[in-house]
């Protein structure tokens, strides 16, 4: 999965939600000119192919290998004990129960 920027005309860009394997950030949408927009998101190879089929242009920002490498760094950093759920949600009914 790579981090990419996608650009194209308004109508096609408004249908990006239909593309499987694409996780784009809605608020990254920027207007390039009157009828052209750009957004950033994470895309699988299959999603990139689908975007191309739709006539949209893509620009690679972070290649898949670098995304994977960065994730390795991050998950290695999360070596501390993971949070565990409370055993029984109903047992903590007092809204002030967590007061320190």
């Amino acid at each position: 999965m790579q981090l990419v920027r996608i650009a194209g005309p308004t109508d096609a860009m408004r249908r990006l939600q239909e593309v499987d394997g694409l996780d784009f950030e809605r608020t990254s949408a920027n207007r390039l000119d009157d009828d052209t927009w750009q957004v950033a998101g994470y895309a699988t190879d299959e999603a990139l192919a689908e975007l191309e089929t739709r006539g949209l242009t893509t620009e690679l920002v972070v290649p898949a290998e670098k995304v994977a490498e960065d994730r390795e760094t991050l998950y290695a950093a999360i070596t501390r004990e993971q949070d565990e759920p409370e055993p029984d949600a109903s047992s903590a009914a007092d809204p002030e129960a967590g007061d320190a």
Binding site: R14, W37, V62, E81, P85, E86, A92, A100
Partner: protein
């Protein structure tokens, strides 16, 4: 501080602040346990302040920076006030840039810190969706998880609701929009939608009940929902384009149902009073300028710290968001409400999940923007 924080570390960090500054910081467990049984904390920081301000982070599980940034903001604010000292946002050097890129220290004067703590009643929900964050952090295959962890319906395996589509504002979007508008809306009624499932009912989710309940109970004056990424300060509306002329074009008016198209150029625009629009632009610009003022002399630092101040609607309309909902908690349009989208896909900032080394750069932007809003909230 080790980045990124786990859910437990965020909660422990908030608890430690309440323990260290008992006269200034109180921690409360919000009333609704999450689907996996976790409790969500809210902390209140004040010394006699009256203007209620609410900051929220962690609604979207995969956006890892905001909860850390809110925790470190509170640490700095409380330490500075307690010491009667300036609040110093430390200098930061981005060594991944070539050549190194230095961001100088920034200072909020001790008098301003005092004004904030003694005039504002600051409430912070550091991590509103802990189930989602814990799942996202459980392994690389789950890194892109966005929603909460609502269990599947019978016969389904699909989990989760997008907490930022579940608020009680235009939640029933298929009624609200035209067919084209509904198709473009960044929301889905399909529980298997990986991103933006709106949930079975408005405000059905415990995470949303907690935050929306706080907004109402506190009678908030200012609200910021901190997300990532796109370096933007977004103000209402996200549902449709803004207009200041026709009060009848509003989300409550059923006469427009099925005819709204969620664009800035259609026949419908969501009404926002001109004074409220002006106020949002002014406050947003103050937040933006505070970030920029701390970039020093290297032009590259300025370019990498440019936050746009915009209405939430650009290309994709959204419904059920916390910042639109917050704006409607009072009928008089007096609440100032933003979504802060911190960080970027560019410049090594890593999108949703930056590497630990760049956290201080993004955090300083969040801190400076939120401190600017807090100063605004003091009313001086």
């Amino acid at each position: 501080m080790a980045y990124p924080s786990t859910v437990r570390e965020i909660e422990d960090g908030l608890g430690a602040l309440a323990a260290a500054y008992p006269s200034l910081c109180t921690r409360t467990s919000l009333p609704n346990a999450t689907h996996e049984g976790r409790r969500v904390s809210s902390v209140r920081v004040t010394n006699g302040g009256s203007t209620p301000v609410l900051f929220v982070g962690g609604a979207h599980a995969r956006e890892w920076v905001p909860p850390d940034a809110l925790l470190t903001l509170l640490q700095r604010l409380l330490a500075a006030y307690d010491d009667e000292a300036d609040l110093v946002v430390p200098a930061f050097t981005d060594t991944a840039s070539n050549p190194d890129l230095a961001y100088p220290a920034a200072t909020i004067a001790a008098d301003d810190v005092k004004r904030i703590v003694e005039n504002v009643q600051l409430h912070v929900v550091g991590c509103s969706n802990p189930d989602g964050r814990a799942f996202s952090q459980s392994g690389p295959l789950n890194a892109m998880w966005r929603k909460n962890r609502r269990p599947p319906n019978p016969g389904s395996t699909c989990r989760g609701v997008d907490p930022n589509r579940n608020n009680d504002i235009a939640w029933d979007y298929e009624r609200y929009y035209s067919r084209a508008g509904a198709a473009a809306n960044s929301a889905s009624t399909d529980p298997c939608d990986f991103q933006v499932y709106v949930g079975p009912a408005a405000e059905s989710e415990p995470e949303v009940k907690n935050v929306a309940g706080l907004m109402r109970d506190l009678d908030i004056a200012y609200f910021v929902d901190v997300h990532s990424f796109s370096r933007k300060l977004l103000y209402p509306w996200g549902m449709d384009g803004n207009q200041t002329r026709d009060e009848l074009q509003n989300y409550k008016n059923p006469d427009w149902d099925g005819r709204r198209d969620g664009t800035t150029r259609g026949p419908y625009g969501e009404y926002i009073p001109a004074a409220a629009l002006d106020r949002h632009v002014r406050v947003g610009q103050a937040m933006r300028d505070a970030i920029l003022a701390a970039t020093g002399t290297d032009r590259r630092a300025r370019v990498r710290s440019e936050y746009a101040v915009e209405p939430s609607l650009a290309l994709y309309p959204t419904t059920g968001t916390s910042s639109d909902y917050a704006f409607t908690v009072k009928d008089d349009a007096s609440i100032t409400s933003f979504t802060l989208e911190c960080g970027s896909d560019a410049d090594g900032e890593g999108g949703f999940q930056p590497v630990p080394a760049i956290y201080p750069k993004i955090e300083r932007e969040v801190h400076l923007a939120l401190l600017a809003m807090l100063l605004e909230a003091t009313g001086d």
